[in-house]
């Protein structure tokens, strides 16, 4: 399965970006192939509104079935949940560490958005 992790880097030792909607990009890791690819999210960096919704759509289109990110607002949560994508919160550390925590079952899937939505 594929896991999308928000980051501003492009390697497994890059830190997690705690923002979801306005993350620079997503590293999409394939747990079976042990490979990864990058999906850009830059169109959302300066979006006036709806960054979370569009980032969620980007993640859905990437084929990921899980997301690891720091914060996820209500609208992004709605889109991801509707697509059956599980959201795991992990605010600090590298992508590698987050994937290890995920593999060892230390990350619990979020049941709700963990930050308030914000308006323009």
């Amino acid at each position: 399965m594929k896991i999308a992790i928000s980051t501003s880097g492009s390697t497994l030792d890059a830190p997690i970006d705690s923002r979801f909607g306005r993350a620079v990009r997503f590293l999409v890791y394939d747990t079976e192939q042990k490979t990864f690819s990058m999906v850009e999210n830059e169109q959302n960096l300066n979006a006036a509104q709806g960054a979370g919704i569009q980032a969620a759509k980007t993640v859905v289109d990437s084929g990921a079935q899980a997301v690891i990110s720091g914060h996820c607002g209500p609208k992004a949560f709605t889109v991801l949940s509707s697509a059956g994508i599980a959201i795991y919160h992990c605010e600090t550390g590298t992508i590698q560490e987050a994937l290890e925590q995920y593999a060892s079952g230390k990350l619990q899937p979020a049941k709700d958005a963990n930050v308030e939505g914000h308006w323009v």
Binding site: G50, A51, V120
Partner: protein, 300 residues
């Protein structure tokens, strides 16, 4: 020199804006309306936090709802082609896999999604986002028609409510528009179409910072404007220095006076605290009226 009759025919649209919040827009708007010897409309367009009624104390006689059109989806017709989401500039509608979702809070009511839907699966539905309350013959001299716009709690789109309030503007009467703070869509919606904008500021670095943003906004909108400094004497001279360097008319300075704060805490306005200001405010209305007349209406 204007006569009372001339003022009676005054139909100027005078917007009171600021940039920085809390500088005295409502204080000045209310005082100008109360100081006017003629009939005046006072529009509270600060719809996210209207408070002019606290000082005007109107008895509202009319209450109406303000709605916007948002799309509603007929899922039986939708094929999840995603064209609606592609045209939406506000991410208010999105298609993922086999599901199309509408986020009404984000919608700007452009109607684009409805136009491009090949299945005609989308149609307009009214969503109430706020209300308008109106009262006639308010104020000490019963000369004020007061109209208040209120954006419902939890709603994000102030401009449609502001536009609905401004539809109440009468063409034959002086109208004072109490605008929202900032320089984004709500403020721009409120000042659009006015004959003159008074920017109220305070003599502080923060006041100056936001005044500069408001001045840039006025200049890019090509609206005539001037500055009123509230709580003059409480800070420094940077605002007045800036105005003279930029050739911006400094229309009035209202002194920092404890009487105003005392009155405010009782729900009373500037004129209750400083009745001597009424004459200056009347003169200010007259001056702006004659300037606007000569600058923009002289050719009519």
């Amino acid at each position: 020199m204007l006569t009372l009759k001339d003022i009676g025919f005054n139909n100027m649209k005078l917007a009171i804006a600021s940039g920085k919040g809390g500088t005295g827009k409502t204080t000045l708007s209310v005082a100008l309306a109360q100081a006017s010897t003629a009939a005046v409309q006072l529009l509270d367009c600060d719809v996210e936090e209207p408070n002019g009624h606290i000082f005007i104390k109107p008895e509202f006689t009319s209450h109406e709802q303000v709605g916007i059109a948002i799309p509603e989806l007929d899922e039986a017709l939708c094929t999840n082609c995603g064209k609606c989401g592609e045209i939406c500039q506000f991410s208010a509608i999105v298609t993922i896999a086999d599901k199309t979702m509408i986020f009404g809070d984000m919608c700007h009511s452009c109607g684009g999604c409805i136009l491009v839907c090949p299945q005609k699966a989308l149609h307009e539905q009214e969503k109430v986002i706020g209300s308008i309350d109106s009262a006639c013959a308010c104020g000490r001299n019963s000369n004020i028609e007061f109209i208040k716009g209120t954006l419902d709690i939890g709603q994000a789109m102030a401009p449609p409510v502001i536009r609905a309030v401004k539809k109440k503007i009468r063409p034959d009467m002086l109208t004072i528009i109490d605008c929202p703070p900032g320089t984004s869509c709500p403020m721009i919606t409120a000042v659009t179409g006015s004959d003159f904008v008074i920017l109220v500021t305070e003599p502080t670095p923060f006041g100056l910072h936001d005044l500069i943003l408001a001045v840039e906004t006025m200049r890019s909108m090509a609206l005539p404007f001037g500055v009123v400094v509230n709580r003059a004497g409480s800070g420094d001279n940077r605002v007045s220095d800036y105005c003279s360097a930029e050739n911006i008319p400094l229309l009035l300075q209202i002194a920092d006076d404890r009487r105003v704060a005392n009155a405010y805490s009782r729900g009373e306005g500037l004129l209750e605290a400083m009745p001597e200001l009424a004459q200056q405010l009347r003169a200010l209305i007259d001056k702006i009226t004659s300037d606007v007349d000569t600058s923009t209406k002289g050719e009519q």
